[in-house]
């Protein structure tokens, strides 16, 4: 049997947050929340883990910095050491002060682009991807909770509807769950 999903829609972010807290306290598992802007405080309530993209950025930054240093060593010191204006390039360490600006820029370049790319890939937000917000107004002024029946095994559809209706919703709908992506 296909999974069923309940979409509970609110017209206020605060009402949704309070509603989510109440539902979770009642043992309801909320799969996801769709909103036009970030609802601060919702993540711990519905169990969204803190992202590790900051660590990813750090890893890309270190990679960029290492690549820059390896590039300087090869290009300026070992492959073709240039003597420009009486300032020869014989040692990476001694010449490093003049490499600092590009090392910094390369580090930032890698960190920013690497993290942004990881973010897009992890989100699966890429050019041409289909959107899967249940209602168009989720990007305008409506906030929707997604509650899947299969994740709330102990509760019937009627039970869930009854609980959700007590949380200040403006609209509720039950559909077959369709995986878009």
């Amino acid at each position: 049997m296909a999974d069923r999903v309940i979409y509970a829609t609110y017209d206020d972010d605060h009402t949704l947050l309070e509603g989510a807290k109440k539902l979770v306290a009642d043992g309801v598992h909320i799969s996801d929340v769709f909103s036009p802007f970030p609802i601060h405080g919702i993540d711990p309530v519905i169990g969204v883990k803190h992202t590790r993209l900051g660590i990813v950025a750090m890893m890309f930054a270190v990679t960029g910095m290492m690549l820059a240093v390896i590039g300087f060593q090869y290009i300026m010191i070992s492959d073709w050491p240039m003597n420009i204006g009486g300032k020869p390039n014989f040692s990476l360490l001694q010449n490093f002060p003049s490499f600092v600006p590009i090392t910094f820029e390369f580090t930032v370049l890698f960190a920013a682009h690497g993290m942004a790319l990881t973010y897009l890939l992890r989100n699966k937000t890429l050019p041409g991807m289909p959107a899967d917000n249940p209602y168009p107004r989720n990007t305008d002024d409506r906030f929707t909770m997604e509650i899947r029946l299969s994740e709330n095994g102990g509760m019937s559809s009627d039970d869930l509807h009854a609980k959700i209706k007590q949380t200040g919703i403006v609209e509720i709908e039950e559909k077959d769950y369709v995986v878009i992506k």
């Binding site: 605060h14 519905i46 937000t125 305008d140």
Partner: protein
């Protein structure tokens, strides 16, 4: 939830709902463009095309078409380059530095300021490329393996530092800007009526659906990008200043250049933001979002950075005398009293005197005066770069080579052309892109809406026990000018 002191003036005027914000920002994109837009875009396009014509003529004939000579081998090209890079700085400063400082007033202006940054840096990048004379070998500045033997770029050269600084700045700014745009493109996509626009904005929005997990990542990415872009802002113009500071030309090799250039960049950048935003708010009827308070805050930034620039001018003068180096002293005396005294006087008047007028609240809250000063500042900052560059090299160590620089019609045409291209890009942006950060603005509706200040917002009492309880009773204060000051 956000908290803000009740004594703060609202950031969004009127009783705006989430839907109102969407409508106010998306409405002008979806509707027909006003006649004024077509006229302005047409003029900008014509000027831009003239500039492109000049560039093509220059490429076909050679940079001898510029007024450069053996003494003044850098003039308008590098002046324009530094001027445009400086203008770009305000955008990143607003979006990154002010984000880190939690300045919420930035939300109404960051999107268009970032767009300005990208277009300005793009214009800046054109000049070094054109100055090469052989645009088609521009890729030689990149350290890529090649078939010319061991031909590598010189990583010790400040001009190569520029290549890395500008390209990093441009691409990181684009990424920062675009990541913020994705949710707003999704908003337009979900409202689009025509199939073409739905398809176009569907592609641009990358399938954004506003999931909690995506917002969680979005906020961290924005914060980390801001953290990365903040030192980048300072590094870019510092590196641009190294083009001069690492040389041996009197008037150039001063250690004050990096902070002085950064302050000057922010100064001119904010002035350009003012010019553009004052046109934008009027043309797109965004007075509720970009109001006098925003203009005043930006004017304060202009005043502070203008004062820093003024102090830097005086410090330069003092050091040139105190150093006891006669060449250095001469360079500065020549700037003020030599054949280019008029450029120096323009620079001093526009950059040192005009921002000081912002001390007067009446002037810094006047939209008309702000518009005027913003243009004055941009002219002054162009002259600053011209003074630094041309006056320092037109009379160098060797009197026999002293010379004057006179721009040709190609010099002027290329510069005016970049202004045209810049405005054409900006107007196209204003027509098809959300000019305000819709999603970000929605996060400050409740903390800054007037209705929440005076406790008349719908449902205000209902939320008293929740996080909205942070919105306290407004403190009685003499802020009667809050509403009246808006025009």
């Amino acid at each position: 939830m956000h908290k803000e002191a009740a004594i703060r003036e609202p950031l969004i005027l009127g009783h705006k709902t989430y839907s109102d914000i969407t409508e106010d920002v998306c409405g002008p994109i979806e509707g027909k463009a006003p006649k004024a837009w077509y006229i302005m875009f047409g003029i900008a396009l014509l000027v831009g095309l003239y500039g492109i014509g000049c560039i093509l003529y220059l490429l076909g004939t050679g940079i001898g078409t510029w007024g450069l000579n053996k003494t003044v081998e850098w003039a308008w090209d590098i002046t324009n380059f530094v001027w445009w890079v400086g203008i770009g700085h305000a955008g990143t400063l607003i979006s990154a530095v002010l984000l880190l400082f939690r300045q919420r007033w930035r939300m109404a202006i960051n999107r268009s300021a970032e767009a300005m940054t990208i277009f300005a840096v793009f214009m800046a990048g054109l000049f070094p490329l054109i100055h090469m004379g052989r645009l088609w070998v521009g890729y030689w500045v990149l350290p890529i393996p090649n078939q010319f033997g061991s031909l590598w770029v010189n990583f010790n050269s400040p001009l190569l530092w520029d290549v890395f600084a500008i390209s990093t700045y441009l691409t990181v700014s684009v990424v920062f800007w675009y990541i913020g745009l994705i949710p707003d493109f999704a908003t337009i996509r979900d409202r689009a009526k025509g199939s073409v626009s739905r398809k176009m904005y569907g592609i641009l929005s990358f399938g954004w659906s506003g999931r909690a997990k995506h917002w969680n990542r979005f906020e961290i990415v924005s914060l980390v990008l801001a953290g990365l872009a903040t030192p980048l802002v300072f590094s870019v113009h510092s590196i641009v200043s190294f083009d001069f500071a690492t040389s041996v030309i009197p008037g150039w090799h001063t250690t004050i250049f990096p902070p002085y250039f950064v302050a000057g960049a922010v100064f001119s950048g904010f002035a350009m933001v003012q010019t553009l935003l004052l046109i934008l708010r009027k043309g797109m009827k965004l007075e509720a979002y970009i109001h006098t308070k925003h203009v005043e805050y930006m004017n304060i930034v202009i005043m502070v950075t203008g004062s820093i620039v003024g102090v830097a001018y005086l410090t330069e003068l003092f050091i040139s005398w105190y150093s006891g180096v006669e060449y250095e002293s001469y360079a500065f005396i020549n700037r003020a009293t030599g054949p280019y005294w008029w450029a120096y006087a323009s620079m001093m008047t526009c950059n040192v005197v005009s921002p000081q007028l912002m001390w007067f609240k009446k002037l810094r809250t006047s939209l008309l005066f702000t518009f005027f000063i913003s243009i004055v500042v941009n002219i002054g900052m162009w002259f600053e770069r011209f003074v630094i560059i041309v006056t320092s090299i037109h009379q160098d160590y060797l009197p026999s080579s002293w010379s004057m620089f006179y721009p040709t019609w190609v010099d002027i045409g290329v510069f005016i052309g970049t202004i045209g291209i810049f405005f054409a890009f900006y107007l196209a942006f204003a027509r098809y892109f959300p000019v305000l950060a819709i999603a970000e603005l929605k996060t400050i509706v409740k903390i800054s809406g007037e209705s929440y200040k005076n406790g008349t917002a719908p449902g205000h009492d209902d939320h008293g026990g929740g996080d909205h309880g942070h919105v306290e009773e407004p403190i009685k204060e003499d802020n009667t000018d809050t509403a009246s000051e808006e025009e």
